[in-house]
Amino acid sequence: MSGKSLKGIVESILFVHDQPLTLDRLAGILEEYDRADLRAALDELIEDYDTAERGIVLIQVAGGYQLRSRPEHGDYIRRLNKTKGVKFSQSALETLAIVAYRQPITRAEVEYLRGVDSGGVMKSLLEKKLLRIMGKKDVPGKPLIYGTSREFLELFGLKDLNQLPSLKEIQELVPPDPFADQPALPLGSAVTTDSAPVADSVPPVESLDSIDSPESIEG
């Protein structure tokens, strides 16, 4: 590396870019550099910024790298912007959590898990681009299936979905990999007041264990 420092160049680019910058994109812009060098420069920058002295942090989010203000300074920035910051209702958070952990998921499944109608909140999350329509499920009725979006990752500062702490870690848990095999939700029999004899088609309670897979991911 001559004259100009690669680290400085990368920093410039991160600074003017208003979205998370992927390594691919960066490699496309800085074609004359090795990917490995770029990655090293990014790692060094993350370290440089990682001191309480600094007002900026470099994080990995939504598949890319982004400079953000230091979380501890949120109060001061809200003074600048005179905003109270985003606020989410419990129903929105619940719905996001369910979709995040169980995607791809249909609306009926979300409603079964929440126990309440969720069309309104899902529509509003779609409008906010936190949820997205992933297509249709290949079952009778072809219901729409939903997942979380890149904006969801950006909002919650997640590198990718695997970075979500497993439910096991949160309290007592569900698979960290939301795409892992999951037992089908017993829709139909569940919400209704099922008059079928006990232990008929209902899966045994132990099935909960089978969907718990321990996982240690940093939250």
């Binding site: 952990y101 929440r114 309440v116």
Partner: protein
């Protein structure tokens, strides 16, 4: 215990106040049930179903009392609870005794509660993260250094929902009617052009509005309008409006003779084509 006694019991216990403050907080029946389980400090794996059911129903009574809309889900859960309770009162049948595993009537409910609790905990975890726009901020503006953006042909970042929204907006502008997803196989534009022309041949001048009858299907309205556009484009008709916001009148652009010896430059071909259609349709 009579119903009256129940109710007087209910309100004598200052239950009303304890619930009233919380009344809006419950996301649904599962949320309420978890609250009751926690409040009573009972084991979720061994729910005292009668007591919890009673409190659940009490809560619903208070909701009614306060004239709150009780969501259907709360009623369904009430029925479920009552059913579980009654099943637990039944002695096991001989057949079931033979079965190695007789499931607890509460099992399904417990599963749902546990699962719901997990996601509620997960939602709290999400809420505790440093949120963009709440604790952390990014530069969400174009840096002055970037200068003028040059348009680039690169697939942009767009979600399916935006596509649907865009289409909804279009339809909202066009009309409030339902726009059928599949265009009915009705009259074609070519046919409608013929009809419009024959009316014009007979009447010479026609009021624009008269071509659109209220009884027409939406598709036919669209086809009619497109036919008029097509006829204008082909210069077969003229559209005039006498005064601002007045009626719009259509009349044939030229007499038949003029049309036949029309030697216009660019339009000649188009006119010839249009004339063909006109002739063809006149034959019908």
């Amino acid at each position: 215990m009579s119903l009256e006694e129940m109710q007087s019991n209910l309100f004598s216990e200052a239950l009303e106040q304890s619930y009233r403050v919380q009344i809006e907080e419950f996301e649904g029946p599962l949320d309420l049930l978890l609250h009751l389980i926690k409040k009573n400090e009972v084991d979720i794996y061994n729910i005292p179903i009668a007591a919890i059911t009673r409190q659940y129903l009490d809560y619903m009574e208070i909701m009614k009392e306060l004239n709150l809309d009780i969501a259907g889900e709360f009623l369904v859960m009430a029925a479920t609870l009552l059913q579980i309770k009654s099943r637990m009162l039944l002695p096991a049948t001989p057949e079931e005794d033979g079965d190695a595993e007789v499931e607890d009537p509460r099992a399904e409910l417990v599963r749902r509660l546990l699962e719901y609790q997990r996601y509620r905990d997960a939602s709290q975890m999400l809420n505790c993260r440093n949120l963009l726009g709440r604790e952390v901020f990014a530069r969400k503006f174009d840096s002055p250094e970037l200068g003028e953006l040059e348009p680039v042909d690169e697939p942009a970042d767009v979600e399916l929902f935006e596509l649907i929204e865009a289409f909804q907006k279009v339809l909202a502008r066009v009309s409030v009617d339902t726009f059928h997803d599949v265009v009915a196989d009705g009259i074609s534009i070519a046919d409608r052009i013929g009809e419009v022309l024959s009316v014009l041949h007979a009447e010479k001048t026609v009021c624009f509005d008269s071509l659109f009858n209220t009884g027409m299907t939406r598709d036919l309205l669209v086809v009619t309008f497109l036919s008029i556009l097509e006829l204008c484009k082909l210069k077969l008709i003229k559209v005039v409006q006498m005064e601002n916001h007045g009626s719009i009148w259509l009349h044939l652009a030229a007499s038949e003779e003029e049309e036949s010896d029309g030697e216009g430059e660019g339009e000649a071909k188009a006119e010839a084509k249009g004339a063909d259609v006109e002739d063809g349709n006149n034959d019908l």
